[in-house]
């Protein structure tokens, strides 16, 4: 049994919202119908999105770190949103673990959105059914697309390759290796939802400098600073170059 999922690298995401717009573009044009957009250029815009990019600041000025945080349905392995649905419109596909909503069955009671701790389900204000990320289920199996394009629209759009897509149950998949080797973590592990999507943490490239490395050992005069220029006629270290 496979479990398709996204792995999002917070170290790489630059917060450009390309995934948000390409997600909306792909999914609003699909057979499942449009995704509402009200007053998009007005004073109080609102609409349905499967994916949002949020921004958080870690720490206190001046020692801050900005984290851009894309958030969509995590396709939990133990999804609390599914058993609460009274109609069976919300379901998890056994074959690939994608959590989907059947828009023809959904009665728009919103109960599943209450039962998702991550706030990734949005009721469409016009179609009055619950919507959420489908992992582009209408794209990833489409034989008419070239193999390399059978990926969710957000993954295709990401300019920094911060989004990886694959089967997290296959230990040798790109996503499994990334989770395993780059410290992948799940959101709100306290609720036991076992999200399939994982995030890779911010990682800083650092070198360790020991104190004695700050002082040159071969410095008999104990004077720091630029060395005096040797005379042009003096031999240089390699006898070739000269100043």
């Amino acid at each position: 049994m496979s479990q398709l999922a996204l792995v999002i690298d917070l170290n790489v995401c630059v917060g450009c919202h390309a995934c948000v717009t390409s997600c909306k573009e792909w999914n609003t044009s699909g057979t499942a119908g449009y995704m509402s957009d009200d007053r998009p250029y007005g004073e109080d815009p609102t609409g349905t999105f499967f994916n949002r990019v949020q921004t958080f600041e870690i720490g206190e000025y001046p020692n801050t770190d900005t984290v851009h945080f894309p958030k969509s349905c995590l396709h939990c392995e133990d999804p609390p949103c599914v058993p609460v649905c009274p109609t069976g419109a919300s379901y998890k596909r056994p074959e690939d673990g994608i959590v989907l909503v059947d828009y023809d069955k959904c009665i728009g009671c919103k109960y599943c959105s209450w039962a998702c701790p991550y706030g990734v389900r949005e009721l469409d204000e016009h179609q009055k059914v619950m919507k959420k990320c489908t992992l582009c289920v209408d794209r990833i199996y489409d034989q008419s697309l070239p193999e390399a394009e059978r990926k969710p629209a957000c993954v295709m759009a990401c300019p920094t390759s911060a989004r990886l897509f694959g089967d997290v149950h296959d230990p040798e998949s790109e996503v499994s290796i990334a989770i395993r080797e780059s410290g992948g973590f799940a959101l709100m592990p306290e609720w036991g939802t076992h999200p399939a999507n994982h995030y890779l943490p911010r990682r800083k490239t650092q070198i360790t400098i020991h104190k004695d490395e700050l002082v040159r050992a071969d410095n008999p005069l104990k004077k720091e600073g630029k060395l005096p220029k040797p005379d042009i006629n003096e031999p240089s270290l390699d006898d070739v170059t000269s100043w």
């Binding site: 919202h17 948000v20 007053r39 109080d44 815009p45 609102t46 349905t48 999105f49 949002r52 990019v53 949020q54 921004t55 958080f56 600041e57 870690i58 720490g59 206190e60 900005t66 984290v67 945080f69 958030k71 609390p80 599914v82 058993p83 609460v84 649905c85 009274p86 109609t87 069976g88 419109a89 069955k105 959904c106 009665i107 728009g108 009671c109 919103k110 109960y111 959105s113 209450w114 039962a115 998702c116 701790p117 991550y118 706030g119 389900r121 949005e122 009721l123 204000e125 179609q127 059914v129 973590f185 799940a186 959101l187 709100m188 592990p189 306290e190 609720w191 995030y199 943490p201 911010r202």
Partner: protein, 325 residues
């Protein structure tokens, strides 16, 4: 959470209807063992009709909560896993049984119509009523569990939620029964009145317990677990949208703190001390007006109570929607 008026009406109306039916059936059971004088069939029939009206009113209100009410029948499908689905099945069952109970009283039917002779007065209605009472308690449990089963809505995730639904609904129903009995069953007024006061006070204890519990709650989720960064100072700079979204509308009550706080005191006063005082005064002074006022005040208080119940629940998704940007 955002308190939806349809759901407030649904839960308070069916609570009153269920409570009224329990009161009727309690009265009848007591009369069978001759602890209370028996009442006319019309009293039970009319009382059941009123209970059914309340329940149907609640059912009607619930449709306004749905995006696709025409598909509501589908919601009976997942009763194995969903408390909402169970409620959808049990609610019509309760309405049906109460209607049957009222009808059996109205037509004065007993088990003789099935050829069974028991010599117990109203044996058929007692049986239907027993089934109805079971279903009524089942409905209370379903309603309460819809909220109590969501573990990360920590304010709701407690047995107190279910107990409060049972006690508050029953208290309201008994208060209504007290006023109603003045017409059809004057012997029962004191009986219902006393129980209404007792159940109201019991509900005060359990509702206060849940308020105290909720005041001390420690939320398990924080921004740290929400975005997986271990730092004591995390601030949101943008929630990814400039206007509102479903997430900013559905999960916040959107009222100022002073309003939120005053609703708590309003319901604490209107649901408990005022109806108890009115019931006492009405019973002692034989005043129908006071008894009816007790019911109206308590029902109005329960509307406030339900508003507060929703508004107080803090959904972990709100962590992601703190700052517009």
């Amino acid at each position: 959470m955002h308190p939806a008026f349809s759901v407030i009406l649904l839960t308070t109306l069916i609570g009153a209807g269920q409570g009224l039916f329990l009161a009727l059936y309690t009265g009848e059971s007591y009369s069978v063992v001759e602890l209370l004088p028996p009442q006319s069939s019309q009293f039970y029939a009319l009382g059941s009709a009123i209970a059914v009206v309340f329940l149907i009113g609640g059912l009607a209100a619930s449709f306004f909560h749905l995006g696709h009410p025409e598909r509501a029948w589908r919601s009976a499908a997942m009763w194995r896993t969903s408390w909402l689905s169970r409620e959808v099945i049990v609610l019509p069952l309760v309405i049906g049984l109460i209607a049957l109970y009222g009808l059996a009283h109205y037509l004065r039917l007993d088990l003789k119509i099935f050829g069974v002779e028991t010599n117990v007065r109203g044996d058929l209605t007692l049986l239907i009523g027993a089934a109805g009472s079971l279903a009524t308690f089942g409905l209370f449990i379903c309603t309460g569990m819809i909220y109590a089963c969501i573990k990360f809505l920590q304010e709701w995730h407690s047995p107190l939620t279910v107990i409060n639904y049972i006690l508050l609904g029953t208290a309201c129903g008994f208060t209504l029964a007290t006023a109603f009995a003045v017409y059809g069953a004057p012997d029962l007024v004191n009986f219902y009145g006393a129980w209404a006061i007792i159940i109201t006070l019991a509900a005060l204890v359990t509702r206060a317990a849940s308020l105290i519990r909720n005041a001390r709650i420690r939320h398990k989720s924080s921004l740290r677990t929400a975005i997986g960064v271990r730092h004591s100072k995390i601030t949101q700079k943008s929630q990814g949208l400039m206007g509102g979204s479903f997430n900013t509308r559905e999960f916040f009550h959107g009222t100022p703190l002073w309003f939120f706080r005053s609703v708590k005191w309003i319901f604490l006063v209107l649901v408990f001390p005022v109806p108890v005082a009115l019931l006492l005064a009405g019973l002692l002074g034989h005043s129908l007006t006071l008894l009816y006022t007790a019911f109206v005040v308590q029902y109005a208080g329960l509307l406030a109570e339900r508003w507060f119940f929703f508004a107080q629940a803090n959904h972990p998704q709100n962590l992601y929607y703190q700052t517009v940007g």
